[in-house]
Symmetry: C2
Amino acid sequence: MAVVTNLSLKRSTPDVNALDKLTVLVADDLKACNALIIDRMQSPVELIPQLAGYIVAAGGKRLRPVLTLASARLCRYGGDRHQGLAACVEFIHTATLLHDDVVDESDLRRGLASANAVFGNKASVLVGDFLFSRAFELMVEDGSLDVLRILSHASAVIAEGEVLQLTTSNDTGTSEQAYLDVIRSKTAELFAAACQIGAVVADRPSVEEDALFAYGLNLGIAFQLVDDVLDYSALQARLGKTVGDDFREGKITLPVILAYRRGSDEERVFWNRALEEMEQGDGDLDKAIGLMNQHGALRDTVERARHYGAIARDALGIFPDSEEKTALLDVIDFVIDREF
Amino acid sequence: MAVVTNLSLKRSTPDVNALDKLTVLVADDLKACNALIIDRMQSPVELIPQLAGYIVAAGGKRLRPVLTLASARLCRYGGDRHQGLAACVEFIHTATLLHDDVVDESDLRRGLASANAVFGNKASVLVGDFLFSRAFELMVEDGSLDVLRILSHASAVIAEGEVLQLTTSNDTGTSEQAYLDVIRSKTAELFAAACQIGAVVADRPSVEEDALFAYGLNLGIAFQLVDDVLDYSALQARLGKTVGDDFREGKITLPVILAYRRGSDEERVFWNRALEEMEQGDGDLDKAIGLMNQHGALRDTVERARHYGAIARDALGIFPDSEEKTALLDVIDFVIDREF
């Protein structure tokens, strides 16, 4: 029996179209949301729309605003406020991306030169601040104190998560719980808020708000767990994406935590040298991936993601069947089984 | 007739106690505001209160929150909401200081090691984000959409001003108008908002809101003009404060703009070398100060500040006489004639 597990063999065939399907379902709303995003990133200070346009055009899946739009539709909301609020969510996300890349000293984002690499760290910090402020201006225009409460709290939690991540960086002794606290704050809280405000604009009872919050939170945890697996994925490399960013930055993600705790003393010497002392040589990334596979660390991180996915699935149980519900449920599998 | 002007001879004796007097007038409110600041910078992520506490304790005059408190009192406000809103203003100010120091690569703030020098740029960016989010959480608790509108707009304008400043950096061709646009956005807008919300909590008519906004805006412009003079002030050096930060960073402030435009071709070669090409040697700062004095650039920057101070003074004309009004008017002179 082979100890080395081929990750892709253990994973079910991904429904690669689940996010696309959800996106098509809210296509008109998303078009309006995108138009708002372009419109509200304008400024007489030219560098602002240049830099903001660069990162917004760089793409991404618009996952978070799509979640807001679909959640509102799931709640049978018939107005158009969710379009502006989805733009707020994307602005907050974009602002955190800009600041993240400065903090991580990243040169690449989604395979393209990062905004800080092109425009410099200074502009990235300040345009992040601008987009963040603009998000709050948009929320104020919407006028819901509930939405403002949810998204201002989410923003504070995200920042807390980022600071916490900074303090666990290069610490191979980081516990699974500490890691979970980080990803719950830095990633999952915005997913949760994005979904929750769908129920808020639709003026639904708090049990539905809570259900969408729980769906988003657990989906977000699963999303980040899989993201952290993909950073060590060979397929990712074949798709031309970067692999090993977390390793090179000394980030302690769950695949590392599991491999470290399941490893021998000799292996821990390797992990400590590479991720604490940051002495990395050729072949170290391959060795790390080898150890992760040997100990089932990547496979089991995906299994952990499946656990949170199951909670997300049950959270939506209280909603009657609908196209949106089916699509939101399918997105859970997409997030877990995606290979990019 | 000497062309060289000793700056201090041309300036009236400063009423060094005007800000202290204003502060004493709102002492109880400020105490409550400070308690809120300490309370609301707490987080289970220890680095956050450590870093935030460092910069908050590092002092500063609490000028902006004092303006909010005094403006509310000027409007005969009898509640305690202005205490929390003053804390919001200080949080926004502190967040921008943290990001400023990262952007400026400053090692010192108010003569002490800057937060980024002690805790690193990464933590400064993220704790700035946290304080900014916390400010909005506090505003949401207060519940006034008007205040949220004013402070979210001010935050966006501040970020715009900072980006604009970035694009004028190292450009000796920067016009006085472009410089004014920068300081109006990056500094004066928050002074204006801080004062305006005093009228908002007191539920005063818009003419009083506008008057306090205008007072704050013009006071803020005067404040920044004098700040930019003090960065070249010999007295500042004698008080143990740093001098020449702007020069070393290649910032184009009004004293530079005036000296450059009034200077000879030969002098412009000097300014271009020092501030555009950033080739600075020993004695260059002294030479710069000498040229500024020779051309009356520091003196006339203070005169420009006096112009804005006069507008600030007239803005308060619609308010009946009161202790607060007198103190707010005296603060204008303090801001202009201060030597630190």
